[in-house]
Symmetry: C2
Subunit: 333 residues, 2 copies
């Protein structure tokens, strides 16, 4: 005969106080006599009482849930953001409810609806690219909303990330300063990844500011990957158009490019300089550490959670937190 799991009432009875008092102790709300609290906690411990979250959510129309919507888990960047989110959540009673969109705004919209059905305390999404409906649902929800990775647009409530446009500009400036003039570009499909596009734009922008432009470029028609980087660099070099440096849409692609050079016996950076984006560990483990832009993904997730939890209400005006970026000099450009 298994006795059903204990509830507030059981704790209250065992302690000879009202349910409400027990509830207050659990939530650290209102003033409670030291002795009462002690007895309540004792009873909780004795019974192994665990609050029923669904009941709590229903009664308070709010839950200890943080909704998290990520475009992908294949790109290592997002697991790192998620890691930051969990780091920010550790030690709090909040749990992350995670959904993945596969870069599909339609799926994102469904996930927004699905997560809002849980009355989450806050929702974290990626970027600014939502369907109108999704955006309206988020706006109307009145809960806190963080849009991560990018800060080049006006957020619903809070944006945490870096300016990809500026990161692209900084890349150009770095290469020009190093004396590179014939600069090529190897990218991936940016219909989904509009931040890669923003970096590209910043890059071209800054180059044209000093009277330069991309000498040659190739784009892989699909998501970024090491293998795509390797193969796309091969295609770029096969054009025969000389380049002394190649900028990659991100580190995955750039590492693939580096491995291509190793295989082809190309001296990096003497014969060809390489530049990435993200600052992934693997890039720094190469025989020559990759020159790239560090984009603190972990920190973006952690900072976002901390900001969201530190203030329950939306601030009067949308807020932006710039987590910045750092040029990693490396040895490949």
């Amino acid at each position: 005969m298994r006795s059903k799991t204990p509830t507030l009432v059981d704790v209250a009875r065992l302690t000879n106080v009202s349910e409400n008092t027990v509830s207050r102790v659990i939530r650290n709300k209102g003033a409670i006599a030291k002795e009462t609290r002690r007895r309540v906690l004792e009873a909780i411990d004795k019974l192994g009482y665990v609050p029923n979250r669904a009941a709590g959510s229903l009664a308070s129309s709010a839950s200890l849930i943080i909704g998290v919507i990520l475009p992908s888990l294949s790109n290592i960047v997002f697991p790192e953001v998620l890691r930051g989110i969990h780091a920010g959540l550790a030690g709090t009673p909040y749990q992350a409810m995670v959904g993945v969109t596969d870069y599909d705004p339609g799926k994102e919209q469904k996930l927004v609806a699905a997560l809002l059905a849980w009355n989450p305390t806050a929702v974290i999404v990626t970027g600014f690219d939502h369907t109108d409906t999704a955006r309206r649902m988020l706006e109307d929800s009145r809960i806190r909303v963080a849009e991560l990775m990018d800060i080049d647009n006006k957020p619903i409530d809070l944006a945490v990330g870096l300016s990809h446009r500026r990161a692209g500009r900084a890349t150009a400036e770095h290469l020009v300063r190093r004396g590179y003039r014939r600069i090529g570009y190897v990218g991936h499909d940016w219909t989904a990844d509009c931040r890669a596009r923003a970096r590209y734009d910043g890059l071209c922008d800054a180059l044209s500011g000093v009277g330069l432009s991309l000498t040659v470029e190739k784009r892989h028609d699909g998501p970024s990957s090491t293998i795509a980087g390797r193969d796309t660099l091969a295609r770029l070099l096969a054009t025969g158009i000389a380049a002394d440096a190649v900028v990659f849409s991100n580190d995955d692609m750039a590492v693939g490019g580096f491995l291509y050079c190793v295989g082809a016996g190309l001296q990096v950076p003497q014969q060809l300089a390489l530049f990435g984006f993200n600052g992934l560990e693997i890039g720094q483990a190469l025989p020559k550490p990759l020159s790239t832009v560090l984009s603190n993904r972990f920190n973006i997730g952690k900072t976002a959670v901390e900001a969201l939890l530190s203030q329950a209400e939306r601030p009067g005006e949308a807020q932006i937190i710039d987590t910045g970026f750092v040029i990693l000099d490396g040895a490949t450009a």
Copy 2:
């Protein structure tokens, strides 16, 4: 004046049916007249009604939540498992509630309690290594429980994964078949990662079966990483003890080892053969594809979800699903 979000009652009133009927339509339960269903769905659409999950969970003492507890998100393997889980969940009304333990059984126990407080439909954990309390909570919960990655122990309910011991044996057999006799080992801290330990045991086991043993070994005192692999191989070679092949605790480590060889001008596999575990993309993108064991992480997650959702009750006897492994011949061993 913002009207509060619509509830079942609103839909019922608009349709002139009882709440109950609306509820049945939503849950596809019981027989409903075609025409009634149509009108209800119309009303739902018109009002933009979204069911309140907390209320549903409270009333049914069950929720459309799948609890997921992972040891880490730093190791790419677990994001891939999570990706599989989300793939299995896509198209269902279930959401994943994710927690991360940092390989700490104490944290795992707290997460188990925290997730069970939501009345999840099932819980997915990693491995068999739980505190007694955590195990008891999971057993007593009566909900479905999957233990992932490993199948070398008796599960609470369902295990999905591969035999790491056998993978280790297969590694030894492969190397011996290829003619390697002086085999070294480069590993990482396995107090946390007991599956790496199981592979190591299988490796040693199979070697001693043919009268061999590890010639030399070095273990990095920390989690696996490319940089750790690179540096630990350097330390192993610095011992001066000759080895013609080195087995790494996983692909991250092995890729680091490969990159060390590139930097040091060591011919792979002529001067030194390398062997990994996991079959990560990066290993296959190397100038010489890494010889390794493919461990289908994605599939483990997806298979687990499908198995859990296909049967609401625990089967009479604990069940094991072997997702197997595949030796990737590669070019490094």
